[in-house]
C-alpha cells in the first residue's frame, strides 16, 4: 500500500513534465485547486531545468522527531515542569507544527497537509502506545517482587492489611471456579443461540435476537451484577456465593460466545452442509457432525476470549461473591474471593504491603488472561476454518 503511494507521488511530477507543455503540467496538480495550478505554473517558469518537485530528504522525519524531543526536554528542564507528560506534550506539538512548517516551505502546501496528517497519525499512535506500555511495565515491574510460590499457595487468612505475606490461593480458586461455572451456563446457551441464528433463524425473531445480543454485549457488568442481586439474592433469598457471581458472569459471557460462534458458523461453506444433506443426513446431525466440527477451532477461540474477558470482571463479584480472606472451595455456599476482587480490596487497604500484594495479584491476573488469549489465538491459527478459498 505505502509503496504504491510513494511510487505514484514520486512519479506524478515526472510524468507531468514529460508531457508537452502547460496542459500536462496542470495534470501534475490534481487537487484541481486553482491555487495549485498557479503555483506549479510559477515554479515552472522559475526552475525550468528540474523535473522533480523538491522533496524533503528521507532523514527529515527522524530529524524532526529528534529535534522536537530535544525541545520538549529542554523546555521541561528549563521551565521546571515536573511531569514527563508535559515534556511529551510539548514535544508532540513541536513535532507536528515543525513538520508542517518545514514541508510547507520545501514541498508546498499539498505535501505539507499530507505530512501533517501523517505526523498526526504517528503522534496519535505514540500517544496511545505510551500509556499502555506504561501500564504493562508498571504491573510487571511492581508485581514481580511479590509473586512467589508462597504467594500463589496461601490465603490471606489471619493476615492484617499492613502485614507482609499472605497470598492469593483463595482468590485464584474462586476465579477459576466462578469462571468455569459461568462457562458451563453460558457456552451451551451461546452455542445453541448461534446455531439458531445461522442455521434456523429467519424473520423477525432472529433479527430481534441478533439486535439484543449486540445490545447485551454493551451491558455494564455492574448492571448484570445488580440484576442477579435483585433476583437471586433479594427475591429468591439465596446468600452470597461464587455461583451467584457466576450467574452474572454468564450473562456477560453469553453474547460474546454467540457473536464469535455466529461469525465462525457463517464461514462454514454451504457446500459442506448441502453435501451432507444430499446424503440423507438429518439436519441436526449435519449441524452436529459437519458444521460444528468444521468451525470448532474458531468457536474454541471465541469461547476462550470470552473466558479471558469475564475472568477480569470485578464489579459483579463485589456485589455477589462479597469477598473473603479464607479458602472456600464450595462455590455454592458462602462468600468467596476472586483475583480482581482481591486486587481491589488490597488497593482499598492503602498500605504499602497491601499495594505490593495488589500489584502482584494484578500481574498474576494479567498473566492468566494473556495466557488464555494467546492459547485462543494459537488455536485460531492452528485450526483456521477451511473455507472454500
Amino acid at each position: 500500500m505505502s509503496d504504491t503511494v510513494k511510487d505514484l507521488n514520486g512519479r506524478t511530477p515526472a510524468t507531468a513534465a514529460t508531457g508537452k507543455d502547460g496542459a500536462a503540467a496542470d495534470g501534475g496538480s490534481p487537487g484541481g485547486e486553482g491555487r495549485n495550478g498557479k503555483r506549479s505554473g510559477s515554479t515552472r517558469v522559475l526552475r525550468p531545468a528540474t523535473l522533480k518537485q523538491p522533496r524533503l530528504p528521507r532523514w527529515a522525519p527522524a530529524a524532526l522527531v529528534a529535534g522536537s524531543l530535544g525541545v520538549g526536554v529542554l523546555t521541561g528542564v528549563l521551565g521546571g515542569l515536573e511531569s514527563r507528560l508535559q515534556w511529551g506534550l510539548i514535544a508532540a506539538l513541536v513535532f507536528v507544527a515543525a513538520t508542517f512548517a518545514v514541508t510547507t516551505i520545501v514541498e508546498g502546501r499539498r505535501q505539507a497537509t499530507d505530512r501533517l496528517a501523517a505526523s498526526l497519525v504517528w503522534t496519535s499512535f505514540v500517544v496511545a502506545i505510551l500509556p499502555l506500555a506504561s501500564l504493562l511495565w508498571e504491573t510487571i515491574a511492581r508485581g514481580i517482587p511479590g509473586v512467589s510460590w508462597y504467594f500463589l499457595t496461601h490465603s490471606m487468612n489471619g493476615v492484617l492489611s499492613w502485614q507482609e505475606g499472605g497470598g492469593i490461593y483463595h482468590a485464584l480458586l474462586g476465579t477459576v471456579q466462578q469462571v468455569l461455572l459461568a462457562s458451563v451456563i453460558a457456552i451451551p446457551i451461546g452455542l445453541l443461540t448461534a446455531v439458531y441464528l445461522v442455521e434456523y433463524g429467519r424473520g423477525r425473531l432472529a433479527k430481534t435476537i441478533t439486535f439484543f445480543v449486540d445490545v447485551m454485549t454493551g451491558i455494564p457488568s455492574i448492571v448484570a451484577g445488580l440484576f442477579v442481586l435483585s433476583m437471586w439474592i433479594m427475591m429468591l433469598g439465596f446468600g452470597y456465593s461464587g455461583f451467584a457471581g457466576a450467574l452474572a458472569l454468564s450473562i456477560l459471557m453469553m453474547p460474546i460466545v454467540v457473536r464469535s460462534t455466529e461469525e465462525m458458523l457463517k464461514l462454514v461453506p454451504g457446500e459442506l452442509r448441502e453435501a451432507s444433506l444430499a446424503l440423507g443426513v438429518p439436519k441436526w446431525r449435519t449441524i452436529l457432525k459437519v458444521v460444528l466440527p468444521t468451525a470448532i477451532g474458531g468457536i474454541t477461540t471465541g469461547v476462550m476470549l470470552a473466558l479471558a474477558r469475564i475472568a477480569g470482571e470485578t464489579a459483579p463479584i463485589i456485589l455477589l461473591v462479597f469477598g473473603s480472606n479464607m479458602i472456600n472451595s464450595n462455590p455454592f455456599e458462602g462468600a468467596q474471593s476472586s483475583l480482581p476482587l482481591f486486587v481491589y480490596e488490597q488497593w482499598a487497604f492503602g498500605t504499602e504491603s497491601a499495594y505490593d500484594r495488589a500489584w502482584a495479584a494484578a500481574l498474576v491476573l494479567i498473566a492468566f488472561i494473556m495466557i488464555l488469549n494467546l492459547v485462543a489465538r494459537g488455536i485460531a491459527r492452528w485450526k483456521a476454518p477451511k473455507t472454500g478459498r
Binding site: L191, F227, W284, G312, W347
Partner: protein, 327 residues
Amino acid sequence: MPAIQTDSSPPGGGLEPEPRRTSAVRPGDRIFSGLSKGAGITLLVIMAAIAVFLSIRAAVAIEANDGNFLTTFEWDANASPPYFGIAVLLFGTVVSSVIAMVLAVPVAVGIALFISHYAPRRVAGILGYVVDLLAAVPSIIYGLWGALFLVPQMTGLYSWLDQFLGWTGVFAYDNTPARSLMTVGILLAIMILPIITSVTREIFKQTPKAHEEAALALGATRWEVIRMTVLPFGRSGVISASMLGLGRALGETMAVATVLSPAFLINISLLESGGGTFAQNIASQFKEAGSMGRDALIASGLVLFLLTLLVNGAARLIIARRKEFTS
C-alpha cells in the same frame, strides 16, 4: 410447536436442497431446532428479566424516596426517610464519558488509519494483534494503574492547565491529588481506545480498493486519498464505534471507583475531586447499604442500564443500517 415448524421450515426448505415433499419432520430435527430456538429466546428473556427485576426494586426505592430522584444532590438512602437523587451521578457519568470520547475518538481514528494505511504491513499485523490484547486487560488493572501511577502524573499537567485556562472555571485546580472527573475521563479514554480502534479499523479496511486507487491515479497524496475515500466511507462506522466506546465508558466501574475521590456535589472545575458516576457509586456504597440502600442503588443502576441500552442500541442501529446499505 407446530406453528413454529410451519414458520421455520418453508424458508429453510427454500434454501437447503432438502426436498419439500418429505414433509414429515424428524423428531431429532424438531428437538434440535426447538432447543436452539429456546436458547435464543432465553437470551431475550434474560434481557427482559433484567429490565423487570431492576424496575421492581427501583420502584420500591423511588416510592419511599423523600427527595426528588432526578434532582436531589444527596445520597442518603439508608436514612429512615431515605433521601437520594441521581443528579450528581448523572452529571459525573456523562461528563467523564464525554471527556473520554472526545479524547479517545481522534486518537483511535489515528491509530486505525495508522494500522490500515500508514504502517508497514508486518507492523500493522502485529499492531492489530496488540490492540486486541489490550482490549482484554481487566478494568481493575487500569484502575490500579490509574490510581497509583496516573494520578500523581497529572498534577503537573493540571497546574499548567490552571495557569493558562484557570479563568474559565472549568480548569481551575487547587493542587490536591488529581483524583477528579478529568483524570477519570483520561483513564476511560485509554480504556476505550482498543474497542474504538478495532471497530474503526475493520470499517476502514472495507473501503473499496477501486475508490482508493482512483484517487491515487488522479495523483492524490496519501492524506487526500484518506480524506476523499476512506473517511467518507467510514464515517458512520466511526460514529457507531465511538458510541460503542461511549457505552463502555458509561458503565465502567472499577477504574472510576479506584481513581475518583467521590463527593456528592457538582464541581464546576473538572480538575478538582468530587462528583461520582453511577457504577462507581454502586460499587463503593454497596457494602454499607441496608435493604433500602440497595434498592436505591438498583434504581440508579436501572438508569445506567437504560442509558447504555440507548447508546448501544443507537450504535447497533447505525451499523445495521450501514450494512444493509453497503451489501
